[in-house]
């Protein structure tokens, strides 16, 4: 894995973000909402609006506005929220932090559960355990977050009263309550992840177990354990890294719904709020930040993969 490869990937991230910024900006520009009206509210007078439009450069040609905006973004300045009149970037990054917390817990839970499940299924291929796991994973991937979430709220929060239905408490403020509030969102998010990844692990492992070198290992008289844990597993788990990275994309999409349902003030919820309030700067910032996160995650995954799997010679 050469520095050139890394440099290339980094340039790619740059390109990605450029494209994303174009798309997002384009969409937000056409969104049916008058930025000035949004900011001053419905009681604003025409002259006040005109003044603000001038101030915000809303009368410039679109591409000018884009460049201005881009220039700001590069300086880390995403503009002021039309809803709260506050700088967008800090709020969004703070929100991102909360989302990442959610994401990390979910991925953690996923790793703890998905991999063993996948292994069991692959080793017990075709037997009850396998069918059980794959049934669960089918259910898992097939339940939209909003369904899982609502059902869990219904049962765990309202009927059994074990957990708070929604809301968010910073871990720094009160760790215990904070965690209690995170349980349901994490369960919801990791559900699909677990289902997805365990299926991946299973199929990868099944493939590997059919490969020549595994047969060779068996014919060398190694025990099943040795064959599985020494020879098969590492080969099977490598591709999973990439899968997990790709799932970050899903994760980001998923948090939008999950955070909305659980009123978790992460970046997903910020985006929904922003979209509903036509808070253009927030939408732009949020979307761009999400894309960045995704791109970076994939970059890291590729690098990790290339590093772990020495066969691959990137250039």
């Amino acid at each position: 894995m050469s520095p050139a490869y890394i440099l290339k990937r980094i340039l790619l991230i740059g390109y990605t973000l450029l494209v994303v910024s174009l798309i997002v900006f384009a969409i937000t520009q056409i969104l049916p909402a008058d930025a000035a009206v949004m900011m001053l509210g419905e009681n604003a007078t025409p002259d006040a609006l005109a003044a603000l439009r001038l101030k915000m450069g809303l009368n410039d040609p679109i591409w000018m506005q884009y460049l201005h905006w881009l220039a700001g973004v590069l300086r880390g300045d995403f503009g002021l929220s039309m809803r709260t009149g506050q700088p967008v970037a800090p709020a969004m990054l703070e929100a991102l932090g909360r989302s990442l917390l959610l994401a990390l817990f979910s991925i953690g839970l996923m790793l703890v559960l998905a991999i063993p499940l996948g292994i069991i299924a692959a080793v017990r291929r075709g037997r009850a355990a396998d069918l059980g796991v794959s049934f669960l994973s089918y259910v898992g991937v097939s339940l939209p977050e909003f369904v899982t979430a609502t059902l869990m709220v219904l049962v765990l929060a309202d009927w059994l009263q074990w957990l708070p239905a929604t809301g968010y408490v910073p871990l720094t403020e009160d760790p215990l309550r904070g965690l209690r509030h995170l349980v349901l969102p994490v369960l919801t998010v990791s559900m699909i992840l677990i289902a997805h990844v365990s299926r991946m692990v299973r199929s990868e492992l099944v493939d590997v177990l059919q490969s020549d070198y595994i047969r060779a290992a068996r014919l060398k008289g190694l025990s099943n354990r040795q064959v599985l844990f020494k020879h098969a597993l590492r080969n099977a788990l490598l591709p999973t890294i990439t899968i997990v990275a790709l799932d970050v994309g899903y994760l980001l999409g998923g948090v939008i719904v999950v955070e909305e349902i659980f009123a978790l003030p992460g970046i997903g919820r910020q985006l929904i709020v922003a979209i509903q309030a036509r808070d253009l700067p927030s939408i732009q910032a949020g979307a761009l930040i999400m894309a960045t996160t995704y791109a970076v995650a994939n970059f890291l995954a590729d690098v990790a993969y290339a590093w772990l799997d020495r066969r691959i010679q990137y250039d």
Partner: protein, 517 residues
């Protein structure tokens, strides 16, 4: 429905009455001082500047941090706030308010007549875009006679000024801040209110602590108030049941049931003038034809509507903006659904084959959609083919509100009949959403406003209501009872029918309240 205590509104006695009332409200044992109250609201508090707040949670916070000249009591009468007394000229065109001595803002600077004048000038200045502008009454000029006397000269006789000055947005802010630019108040609060701002997270929670320099040495009783934002109403209810919060400022009927059942909780309910309506653009086809409006009104099964829209926690409406919760409510025969008659009217109006229309409903609060969908079904048999379109509230405000010709509105109860009429239905209304522009109606409202005599006013307002009843500028099928709930350890809280007033400085915590923060 408990009859609301009717009182003489003559301004002269208002000051007295204020004192009297607070006397009445004294509790069995004197309220305990101290403790943190955690109150939950159902929307973000994105605006902190009291002059431009727009939604109830924002009013709640503004009320904690700022004071007006007067404030609204539970019976919708005015009581002194920063002003300790007031008098008015016989013709009701000039009002003089006397401020308390030694008022200070949170930043320590004194609060004087100058600040009051500056504030009202700001409110009346279009650039400020304050909703109060159209709601504080026909103020022509505000002047400071001396450091603590302010004189309001009105453009027309106006009897309700002390009440309208209690308007949610008419909060006094420092003249200096106004000069320096109001945006200073977007993130910090410099008021004279019972509490000072501690922390402000629009989406999550706002914390305020007792203002030791508050003019009333007794109040507030609480050390701290945490205003917690719950964007999800059912979670909000769950939180109260779980004891995470002490008070729900308002809760939808769908949650009220289980709050009533929950132990340790007192579910609160008060009849109110809050209503959901269907606004017609009376200036354009097809709704410029009174028969079409009447026809649609005739399709509404109002009893069922009360069920659908309020889950039974409300009362049927008669298409007039007033209900018994208002002082000048006139009792008119309850409207009944009559499909045949509706059909006939529709045919008369030139729609024998029926009429298509798109009814727009913003997505919050949910009752709007409820009403729209229910109306759609009720109107079907009469030949109305209504397509319901819901949209995010922001889009609605941007594209439909005050512009559309057929959409669902939702309004808090106002302090006075005049307030609600001149907010919505007179041709010079702040939000003239129906463009009904009925000269007769305007005249009645205007006269009533300038009339001091109770009986005369009642007669005038009765006629105004009859007009609405007959011409249906908007269908008002049901009024809401306001619903809320508190833990039993929360004392001295009275659910205010206005919906935008909370008076949390009168609240205290019982001995068994959990210790917080």
């Amino acid at each position: 429905m408990p009859s609301i205590h009717r009182r003489d509104f003559l301004a002269a006695s208002a000051a007295l009455s204020g004192l009297a009332m607070s006397g009445l409200q004294a509790f069995a044992q004197t309220p305990r001082r101290g403790g943190t109250l955690r109150v939950s609201v159902d929307q973000a508090v994105s605006k902190l500047n009291p002059l431009v707040t727009r939604v109830n949670p924002e009013y709640l916070v503004a009320e904690l941090l700022y004071s007006g000249l007067t404030r609204l009591k539970v019976d919708m009468s005015a009581e002194p706030d920063l002003a300790e007394s007031w008098t008015n000229s016989a013709d009701l065109t000039e009002w003089t308010f006397v401020l308390r001595k030694g008022l200070t803002f949170h930043d320590g600077s004194p609060c004087t007549a100058a600040d009051v004048v500056a504030t009202f000038e700001a409110i009346l200045d279009a650039k400020t875009a304050s909703p109060a502008r159209q709601n504080v009454g026909p103020i022509a000029k505000v002047a400071a006679k001396d450091d603590n006397t302010v004189v309001f000269s009105l453009s027309a006789p106006f009897a309700d000024l002390p009440v309208t000055l209690a308007y949610t947005n008419a909060k006094i802010v420092p003249a200096a801040v106004i000069k320096g630019g109001l945006e200073k108040l977007d993130r910090q609060a410099i008021g004279t209110g019972p509490f000072k701002l501690v922390s402000f997270e629009p989406e999550r929670q706002i914390v305020v602590a007792r203002n030791e320099a508050y003019y009333d040495k007794a109040r507030p009783f609480l050390d701290k108030v945490e205003v917690v934002v719950f964007p999800d109403v059912s979670a909000e209810a769950s939180a109260l049941i779980a004891g995470d919060t002490d008070l729900i400022s308002t809760t939808p009927p769908t949650e009220f049931g289980r709050l009533q059942k929950a132990s340790g909780i007192k579910a609160l309910r008060v009849p109110s003038g809050q209503f959901c309506n269907v606004n017609f653009g009376c200036d354009q086809k097809p709704f410029n034809d009174i028969r079409v409006r009447q026809a649609l009104a005739l399709t509404v099964d109002r009893a069922a509507m009360v069920d659908f829209v309020t889950e039974g926690f409300g009362s049927p409406g008669n298409d007039t903006a007033l209900n018994p919760a208002y002082r000048f409510y006139a009792d008119l025969p309850a409207k009944q659904a009559d499909i045949a008659k509706a059909k006939a009217l529709l045919a008369e109006a030139g729609y024998p084959k029926g009429l298509e229309a798109t009814l727009i409903a913003s997505d919050r609060p949910g009752q709007r959609t409820q009403l729209a969908v229910a109306l759609r079904e009720m109107a079907k048999p009469a030949g109305f083919d209504i397509k319901v379109e819901t949209m995010p509230h922001a889009t609605y405000l941007d594209q439909v509100w005050k512009k559309g010709s057929f959409y669902v509105g939702f309004y808090n109860m106002q302090a006075t009949a005049d307030a609600i009429f001149s907010l919505l239905y007179t041709s010079n209304a702040a939000w003239n959403e129906t463009r009904w522009n009925n000269a007769a109606f305007d005249k009645l409202v205007f006269e009533a406003r300038a009339t001091a005599d109770e009986a005369k006013r009642r007669a005038l307002y009765a006629d105004a209501q009859k007009l609405m009843y007959a011409e249906v500028p908007s269908i008002i099928p049901a009024f809401f009872d306001l619903l809320a709930a508190r833990r039993e350890w929360v004392e001295g809280y009275q659910l205010h029918p206005r919906g935008a007033v909370f008076r949390l400085d009168h609240v205290s915590l019982g001995a068994n309240a959990p210790k917080r923060g």
